[in-house]
């Protein structure tokens, strides 16, 4: 389906990543946003608060991030595409209801404009240390989808994509932006509405008497309903059967939770997105994401000029992780170099997938700035030695 033109600000703009992300949400058809102000994400909700009155959207500034996330899950059950936006401390507070969204299979989008942590950390400065929290932050087993933009243009594009993926798989989708991308101003081209692919909320065609909210009927994902259409359905955060009724047994847990995990794991190939350059014959492959990908791209060029055979792989989806690709590359490359603005998070995934067949080199950065390209080059040279 094509985007509804009322939310699409077609044209070439000079926007920061936060504004571009807000535009992406509106273009994707988002009409409910609940948020709580937190640096460096606040501009996203400010943009939306200003624009929503023109398009029938409702923004509400909730009392905290617990409430924001709960309201988003509630609104999503009315069929309204819903979003919340936050940064580290707020992301921590949202975790329980991100788990509720996963358990109830609720499509919704959460943007985390990452800053330095832990705790209050560096409110106005960059970090990438929430990427494992994105994957594992809520308790219990579940899978979700996380994308990671490297530019304001991608903040727009990938926010649309996050909404689409959350609709297809009925999971919370995370946009794991970082402060640099959020506050960086660049050219952003917003296409005509008819050129933006949008996945609409699809409701079941079954009559209420036949409908069961979690019956999959052989498909990986159950059909959706929304409140107010006469289905009189029930949903819960408890382990539940196909009727959405709680069942406290290990058998039901197996059916219920296994599907939450498998609906993503079995579709990893369709979801995963990455970009590569010159990885096939390379000795070393640099793996990076977000703002660090742009620094690492430069470092890769610098290392090439020094005669080292280096390839480059940028993670566009962080979760699910491109496990197969890293495993395949590990057969041919000598080592992976992973710069990230944390003390080693995605490098653990690279290392796991490389399974001892290629070395993994972390280039850590504690946050508050980006890597010096030269630091990455040094590690590349060390890895190539």
């Amino acid at each position: 389906m094509r985007a509804d033109p009322t939310g699409v600000l077609t044209g070439a703009h000079f926007l920061d990543g936060d504004y571009a992300c807000g535009e992406g949400a509106m273009a994707a058809g988002c009409r409910f946003v609940a948020g709580y102000p937190i640096t460096p994400s606040t501009e996203v909700i400010e943009r939306i608060a200003r624009r929503f009155p023109d398009m029938g959207g409702t923004f509400i500034q909730m009392e905290d991030e617990l409430a924001s996330m709960a309201a988003v899950v509630g609104a999503a059950w009315t069929g309204t595409k819903s979003l919340t936006v936050t940064s580290g401390p707020g992301f921590s507070l949202m975790m329980e209801n991100i788990g509720l969204a996963a358990m109830m299979e609720t499509p919704c989008v959460v943007v985390n404009v990452q800053r330095g942590g832990p705790s209050t950390g560096l409110p106005t400065m960059v970090g990438q240390a929430d990427v494992m929290q994105a994957r594992w932050g809520s308790h219990g087993d579940y899978e979700l989808i996380a994308v990671c933009p490297q530019s304001p243009q991608e903040a727009f594009d990938l926010t649309v994509e996050a909404f689409n993926l959350s609709e297809i798989y009925r999971v919370p989708a995370l946009v794991m932006m970082d402060e640099c991308v959020g506050h960086m101003t660049e050219k952003v081209v917003i296409p005509e509405a008819e050129d933006i692919e949008v996945i609409p909320r699809e409701l079941t065609a079954q009559p209420p008497e036949d409908y069961q909210p979690y019956a999959t009927n052989g498909r990986p994902i159950p059909e959706f309903v929304r409140a107010g259409d006469g289905y009189r359905f029930h949903t819960t955060g408890l382990t539940h059967d196909e009727r959405g009724y709680p069942v406290m047994s290990s058998e039901c847990q197996e059916t219920c939770v296994r599907r939450l995990v498998e609906k993503i794991r079995e579709h990893t190939d369709e979801i995963v997105r990455f970009e590569e350059d010159g990885v096939e014959q390379a000795d070393i492959v640099v793996v990076a994401y977000g703002i660090t990908a742009r620094v690492a791209r430069m470092a890769t060029e610098m290392a090439r000029q020094r005669g080292i055979s280096v390839g480059f792989l940028r993670l566009v989806t962080l979760w699910p992780f491109p496990e197969k690709r890293i495993r395949d590359l590990a057969e041919t490359v000598k080592g992976f170099v992973v710069p990230e603005i944390n003390y080693g998070q995605m490098v653990l995934e690279v290392e796991r997938c490389a399974a001892g067949k290629a070395a993994s080199w972390l280039v850590p950065h504690g946050g508050g700035g980006v890597h010096e390209p030269e630091t990455i080059v040094e590690t590349i040279m060390e890895a190539a030695r």
Partner: protein, 298 residues
């Protein structure tokens, strides 16, 4: 009632609220003598009497014994996370404004862990009917102290009696801005049902506190007897004082319980204010959320 052995066998009759209950889920989880079932019956009766379109009625609960109410209602029903029933319900209401949204949950859920949401939803006059079942204790987890436990009452985490001042809930709701505030007990079946019916007709943040027995924990820990003895206590000690100053509604340990309707005013809701404000400021430019919600079809 016992049936004389020589009388004609009676036909099994359907539960009078069967249309609104998930009969296939019964028996419910609540203990004998618990007051929650009574509140469910009053709520169901009030909904039926109100004549509202029940296909447009949604009910949200949090966690705990009272948090199980949504699970038994044949409505669009949401059993959510601990303390977050009100913000979840806020999302439902704002996502599809034509819905009639109720929140039914317990004291620990709505004013303990969820207290912040309670006061803010009242402040905003969010269009929700909130029925809080107050049994003075955390029941589901085994009788721990609640923000409503009366002074001196025992709980498993205040084994020598509670020394923390409890909330006066009608006063909390009223001073936070709730335009409809009432309190009843599980004994006041008709009055509670009428109150819910009346609250359904009102708009905005409507708050009804229902005092309910918890024979398994609160009564046992405090040697108060069975659920029935608590009902007798309500009979003897509940005093109806409509319009009573909400500052005078504290509940002590086995002291008088003042019941009645304390606040019944009209105040514009969050959505009234939003629409009015944006129309004034933005004129025709303003597009409100359609009553059927923000789902985009075409």
């Amino acid at each position: 009632m016992n049936q004389p052995i020589d009388s004609e066998p009676q036909e099994a009759r359907e539960h009078p609220s069967a249309q609104l209950l998930r009969m296939e889920r019964l028996p419910h989880v609540w203990c004998p003598g618990c007051g929650i079932g009574t509140v469910v019956k009053c709520y169901a009766t009030a909904l039926e009497n109100s004549g509202i379109d029940l296909d447009k009625a949604a009910v949200v609960s949090g966690i705990g014994c009272s948090g199980r109410v949504a699970g038994y209602m044949r409505l669009d029903a949401f059993h959510t996370t601990h303390g977050r029933a009100i913000p979840f319900a806020t999302g439902l209401k704002l996502g599809r404004p034509e819905l009639f949204v109720s929140v039914i949950s317990g004291d620990g859920d709505l004013v303990g862990i969820g207290g912040n949401h309670f006061i803010h939803a009242a402040r905003r006059n969010m269009d929700l009917l909130v029925i809080l079942i107050n049994n003075f204790i955390y029941g589901m987890t085994g009788g721990q102290n609640a923000p409503t436990t009366p002074l001196e009452a025992k709980s498993s985490t205040m084994p020598f009696g509670n020394f923390e001042e409890p909330f006066n809930l009608p006063h909390l709701a009223a001073s936070s801005g709730a335009p409809y505030v009432a309190r009843w007990t599980c004994l006041h079946i008709r009055r509670l049902t009428w109150a819910i019916e009346e609250a359904i007709e009102r708009r905005g943040f409507r708050f009804i506190e229902v005092i309910a027995p918890c024979p398994t924990l609160y009564s046992r820990l405090n040697k108060l007897g069975t659920g029935l003895s608590e009902m007798r206590f309500y009979h003897d000690n509940a005093e109806i004082k409509h319009g009573c100053d909400t500052r005078e509604l504290d509940i002590g340990f086995h002291t008088e319980i003042v019941c009645g309707k304390f606040v019944d005013e009209e105040r514009p809701t969050f959505l009234d204010l939003k629409d009015e404000h944006y129309r004034k400021r933005l004129g025709d430019r303003y597009i409100p959320m359609p009553p059927e919600g923000g789902m985009i079809h075409a």
